[in-house]
């Protein structure tokens, strides 16, 4: 056998275009699936974090509720708690929905994640929406509970 060029009968341009095309398709596929995977993971991470934070806040509300229930006249109850300022790099909001079936809604934007955590409370809790981070649960003068953003006294 004599040596022959292996790219016999092919135009150089075609060879180049084919190679480039296959590589681009392969790489794009990899990037898309990789990106989607990362996004999925991020969303589920945010969901997990919000759920944990929500449950912690709900536990604190339950604690404040128990304390408020044990008071008589001239009472004041304040509970302070440090929560993370961000989840997976983004800020979040905590909303108190004070229906008969009171619950918390924790939300982030981009990606839009929404987590609901039920509250167990005897004392009425005021409807509100605050940013995540350090928060305080107070008993108001009317005897209701309120969720306030920020720490410090007062």
């Amino acid at each position: 056998m004599t040596d022959r060029p292996t790219n016999r009968g092919q135009a150089i341009t075609l060879n180049y275009a084919l190679g480039l095309g296959i590589s681009v398709i392969l790489m794009t596929g990899l990037l898309i699936t990789g990106g989607a995977f990362v996004n999925d993971q991020r969303e589920s991470a945010i969901r997990t974090e919000l759920r944990v934070i929500g449950q912690q806040v709900a536990a604190d509300v339950a604690t404040a509720d128990r304390l408020a229930q044990s008071t008589e006249d001239n009472s004041s109850v304040t509970l302070e708690r440090d929560m993370p300022d961000t989840v997976a790099g983004g800020t979040y909001d905590i909303e108190v929905v004070a229906t008969a079936d009171a619950h918390l809604i924790l939300t982030t934007r981009n990606p839009d994640v929404r987590v609901r955590v039920d509250l167990v409370n005897e004392t009425v809790i005021q409807e509100t929406s605050i940013n995540g981070g350090r928060l305080r649960i107070n008993q108001t003068e009317s005897g209701e509970l309120e969720l306030v953003s920020g720490g410090g006294s007062g």
């Binding site: 790219n7 150089i12 060879n15 180049y16 190679g19 480039l20 590589s23 681009v24 790489m27 990899l30 990037l31 990789g34 990106g35 990362v38 993971q41 991020r42 991470a45 997990t48 974090e49 944990v52 934070i53 449950q55 912690q56 536990a59 604190d60 604690t63 404040a64 128990r66 304390l67 044990s70 008071t71 008589e72 006249d73 001239n74 009472s75 004041s76 109850v77 304040t78 509970l79 302070e80 708690r81 440090d82 929560m83 993370p84 961000t86 989840v87 997976a88 790099g89 006294s153």
Partner: protein, 342 residues
């Protein structure tokens, strides 16, 4: 541009490198995100930041402590106190000492507490427990049937010591009648007049000497609630003396199930003795409404003999303040040692 031809072998695969780099960056970002999840999940394993149980425990401890102080002051200082404010001052000193001790313990845990006495309720002892061996249960004027207190809202520590059981009426007459003339025996009556007909609770004490009701000639305590005869409780014949703890429901130290003081009355009732000349002994009880006592039934000084009225503290209110780093808990707490026994 990536060169894939044979002529440029050395720079082949640039596209793959760029892609791999982009993927690597996104995976590093993912690792960072997951790291923050680990931190947040770590929160879930922590116990609650502030322990509600500590605050409630401190409150209930302070209430218990104050109740003990009140009981002590009522028990040992009432007869010497000239005014209610003497008693209140003693309780206030006690509360302040207790707070001081508690504070020293709690400071170690980073908890600050404070307790102050903010209010007290007046009560009165009706007392026939001194300088008598064998006095009957008549009032200061010798009237055997008399009303100790009108419209009391509570009674506590009602005890009588029958020092001479043989002075009890010898009868087997278990009269369940509603009126005083029906009864020959010594009877304690609690009557709630706020409803019509009035609800009455009656406790008779007598000696079934002739064994007419089959008690075996014992001393008998019989309770009649709104005309409904309860099973009797008895004390063996021949004892030198016996206690009837009306509040605790015991007779001579034995539990008497029929004896539940003023069980059918509402919150407000009168307490009367009928045929107080048919019993000898001592008694003492605390009532919480001193304005409803008729002073003519009592002697004003101890030297004139029993029964007398002594000042007492029925209950009160303390303000408990509890603080720790992340929690403030402040509340009034009502203190009533033993509350009412009815």
């Amino acid at each position: 541009m990536a060169h894939l031809s044979n002529e440029n072998r050395r720079s082949r695969g640039q596209l793959i490198l760029v892609t791999a780099f982009a993927l690597a960056v996104s995976f590093v970002a993912l690792a960072l995100v997951l790291n923050s999840v680990i931190y947040t999940e770590n929160l879930a394993t922590r116990s609650e930041s502030a322990k509600a149980s500590d605050a409630v425990k401190v409150k209930s401890d302070m209430v218990d402590g104050t109740a003990q102080i009140m009981t002590y002051v009522n028990e040992y200082n009432a007869s010497e106190a000239d005014t209610y404010s003497d008693l209140v001052d003693e309780i206030r000193v006690g509360v302040s000492n207790t707070t001081q001790f508690a504070r020293e313990y709690q400071n170690v845990n980073g908890q600050a507490i404070n307790t102050t006495l903010v209010a007290t309720e007046k009560g009165t002892w009706i007392n026939q427990t001194f300088s008598v061996e064998n006095k009957n249960f008549t009032d200061a004027n010798g009237d055997p049937s008399w009303t100790l207190v009108n419209d009391t809202e509570g009674t506590r520590r009602f005890r009588m010591n029958v020092t001479d059981p043989d002075a009890l009426a010898d009868t087997g007459d278990l009269a369940a009648g509603e009126t005083r003339s029906d009864l020959d025996n010594f009877t304690v009556v609690a009557r709630d007049r706020s409803v019509s007909p009035a609800k009455t609770w009656k406790m008779e004490l007598f000696h079934d000497d002739a064994d007419l009701i089959g008690s075996g000639s014992e001393y008998v305590l019989s309770v009649v609630v709104d005309g409904d005869q309860r099973p009797t409780c008895t004390v063996p014949n021949g004892v030198e003396h016996f206690w009837v703890n009306v509040s605790a429901g015991t007779v001579s130290g034995e539990d008497c199930r029929a004896l539940r003081f003023a069980e059918n009355t509402g919150g407000v009732y009168d307490i009367s003795y009928w045929n107080g000349d048919k019993i000898n002994g001592t008694y003492r009880l605390m009532v919480n409404n001193q304005s409803a006592l008729d002073p003519t039934h009592y002697n004003s000084t101890v030297t004139a003999g029993p029964p007398v009225l002594d000042k007492a503290i029925w209950g009160g209110k303390i303000l408990v303040d509890y603080e720790e780093q992340r929690m403030v808990y402040e509340t009034d707490a009502r203190v009533v040692p033993g509350e009412s026994d009815d």
